[in-house]
């Protein structure tokens, strides 16, 4: 509704705007005060989030932040300890099987059947969803092409590379044409090339309109794949927004990194503090949060300070995380 609409006309909304309203009012996933406890340990502390259809949504945070626990609750395998959760408008506690029949899940740890062939792994998984054998043959062919595994169809899974296994796990998760794809740390443990192949595949899915929900502790992955993300730490959501928004809101545009040597960083920090919006002292370097990195580097040199090495870069989600939690993502 625009501001020019006269009051009292909300009941006469045009069908299109009513449709748009309903879509925003009925997200695919909605969590309010969602919590998970394991005995005395609180893994997820009353988090709120919602994911709209077609969106790529990410949970960014270090290991142990509660990302996987949240994913397992959304995946309708692990019951919530508190709060309200709706997935596809359904309550996971009541309609778990129905929800799972419409999800695709890529777990953090591959759980393929190593003794079966690539083809058989996809086939049996499709059967778990009750898909008839007839329909599975063409579907498996399509997925093998998508995962670039067509020539390995008759091979056992065991000897495949980590990247291939991961692609097979993703292919498997698509056997039922899921409405939402849940990816828990999709590229952890893969080499850079395998990660890029995988990102390319996920990017294609995103373009086809598949709703992606992923967890990661790689900020480059979050930047590549997520339209919107939440930053999690110690079971709580500490920030939310698009990657660009988060950077604008929480850190400066550029970062100047200075290395003075391990013993000197701390002492030099005071000498350059006035040049930056904020200075972060890490074990091996100083981070100066600034609008114009090159200008600040010049200013540093003009003060007669000679860092062993220096560089200027754009601020990243890593900096956002450091700002919000005082720790780095990958340790």
């Amino acid at each position: 509704m625009t501001s020019s609409d006269p009051p009292g006309r909300s009941s006469d909304l045009a069908p299109r705007s009513a449709d748009r309203l309903r879509r925003t009012a009925d997200p695919l996933i909605e969590a309010v005060g969602l919590s998970k406890r394991f005995g005395g340990f609180q893994a997820v502390r009353a988090v709120d989030f919602s994911v709209a259809r077609g969106e790529s949504f990410g949970f960014l945070g270090p290991n142990g932040a509660g990302k996987s626990s949240t994913m397992r609750m959304v995946g309708a395998v692990s019951p919530a300890s508190g709060g309200r959760l709706r997935v596809l408008g359904l309550d996971p506690a009541v309609e778990g099987p129905t929800i799972r029949s419409r999800l695709g899940v890529v777990p953090q740890q591959d759980n393929l059947d190593l003794e079966l062939t690539v083809w058989e792994n996809l086939y049996i998984y499709g059967r778990y969803f009750g898909i008839p054998k007839r329909a599975l043959r063409p579907k498996i062919e399509e997925l093998l092409d998508f995962a670039q595994l067509a020539d390995r169809a008759r091979d056992k899974v065991e000897p495949l590379s980590g990247g291939m296994k991961r692609r097979l796990t993703i292919a498997r998760s698509l056997i039922n044409d899921p409405e939402i794809l849940l990816l828990d740390e999709p590229t952890t443990g893969l080499d850079p090339q395998a990660r890029h192949v995988l990102w390319d595949r996920l990017y294609r899915l995103k373009h086809q309109g598949v709703t992606l929900v992923l967890t990661t502790h790689y900020m480059d992955e979050a930047e590549q794949l997520c339209d919107r993300l939440v930053v999690m730490d110690h079971g709580e959501i500490v920030a939310e927004g698009s990657p660009a928004q988060l950077i604008t809101e929480h850190v400066s545009r550029e970062v100047a990194e200075l290395r003075f040597g391990i013993d000197e960083n701390e002492a030099r920090a005071a000498q350059v503090a006035d040049l930056a919006e904020r200075v972060e002292v890490l074990a091996d370097r100083l981070l100066l949060y600034v609008a114009d990195g090159e200008a600040v580097l010049r200013a540093v040199h003009e003060r007669g300070l000679q860092p062993v090495s220096s560089l200027v870069r754009r601020a990243s989600l890593e900096d956002v995380f450091l700002r919000l939690t005082g720790r780095s993502l990958v340790d």
Binding site: F38, R72, G75, V77, S78, P79, G96, P97, T98, R100, S101, R102, L103, V105, P107, Q109, N111, L112, D113, L114, E115, L116, E120, Y123, I124, Y125, G126, R127, Y128, F129, G130, I131, P132, A135, L136, P138, K139, E141, E142, L143, D145, F146, I175, N176, D177, E179, R204, Q208
Partner: protein, 282 residues
């Protein structure tokens, strides 16, 4: 998927493929090992029956043992061996494969639990497959016994369901343990050494338990294998009305044996489903 899309969404069933799809999975896995395992399962009875049924049997039969039994030692031994083999096969399937393949290393149950299948269905599919394996072994064993001339009545066919029930009466409770332990520290080896093996030796397999002292007979009562053996002998030899009384089981005792085995099986199945649910929903 470049330009190609094969829709399957409309074919997905909200409650999945059920136990049947799990069974299909087990069949695909088993097909791989079918030849090897069928050979092993034919080889074992041949060896046992040759050495014990024929070898030891010739001594037993020659020295009045045959008379006191009222039938050949082979025909006395065979129903018990069928029950014991089914039990060993089932226990084997309910230990390492559940903990290692299912929960710890390949973690295939976790893959299953992300589909519409419920934990109870997964547990049910696993146990149904173990029962099938036991029944398959019992059938092969019975066929070998028949080749050795050890089958004396049509009733012996009942040995297959009886041996399967007896096997599940132990295997299902063991599956509860396998689905519960986090780390294997020799528990499975202990099950074989201190449970299955003594059970095999002291459940009236080689001689009637009446030859044991009172406390031994009392212990046999606790053994699912003894109950299965009694039932298997009843099915195989009961109709022959042997004067030795072998194979004669009263109605009350019959129901008692069945009730004991059924109770253990049902409890094992329910508790396995519960343990699967707890472990898969962490």
């Amino acid at each position: 998927m470049a330009g190609r899309h094969t829709p399957t969404r409309h074919l997905v069933r909200a409650h999945g493929g059920g136990v049947a799809s799990l069974f299909g999975y087990s069949l695909i896995t088993a097909r791989r090992y079918f030849k090897v395992s069928a050979m092993a399962q034919l080889g074992a009875p041949v060896l046992y029956l040759l050495s014990l049924g024929i070898g030891l049997g010739s001594i037993v039969n020659a020295r009045s043992g045959g008379q006191s039994l009222g039938t050949s030692y082979l025909s006395f031994l065979a129903p018990a061996l069928i029950a014991a083999t089914a039990l060993q096969v089932a226990v084997g399937e309910s230990t390492y494969p559940i903990l290692f393949g299912g929960f710890k290393f390949q973690r295939i149950y976790f893959a299953m639990s992300a589909t519409p299948l419920t934990a109870q269905q997964i547990a049910g599919g696993v146990l149904a497959w173990i029962a099938t394996r036991a029944a398959f072994s019992a059938t092969l064993y019975l066929a070998v016994v028949a080749c050795f001339g050890g089958v004396r009545s049509v009733g012996a066919l009942l040995c297959v369901p009886i041996a399967t029930l007896g096997a599940m009466a132990l295997a299902a409770p063991i599956a509860v343990y396998s689905a519960t332990v986090e780390t294997e520290r020799g528990g499975f080896a202990a099950i074989f050494r201190f449970l299955v093996m003594p059970m095999f030796l002291f459940s009236g397999t080689f001689y009637p338990v009446s030859s044991l002292p009172g406390w031994g007979q009392a212990l046999a009562w606790l053994s699912p294998l003894w109950h299965a053996t009694e039932l298997a002998r009843w099915a195989s030899l009961g109709s022959l009305q042997l004067r030795s009384g072998i194979g004669q089981v009263g109605t009350a005792a019959l129901l008692g044996h069945l009730a004991f085995l059924t109770a253990l099986t049902v409890a094992g199945v329910l508790l396995t489903g519960w343990r699967f649910r707890v472990r898969l929903s962490k």
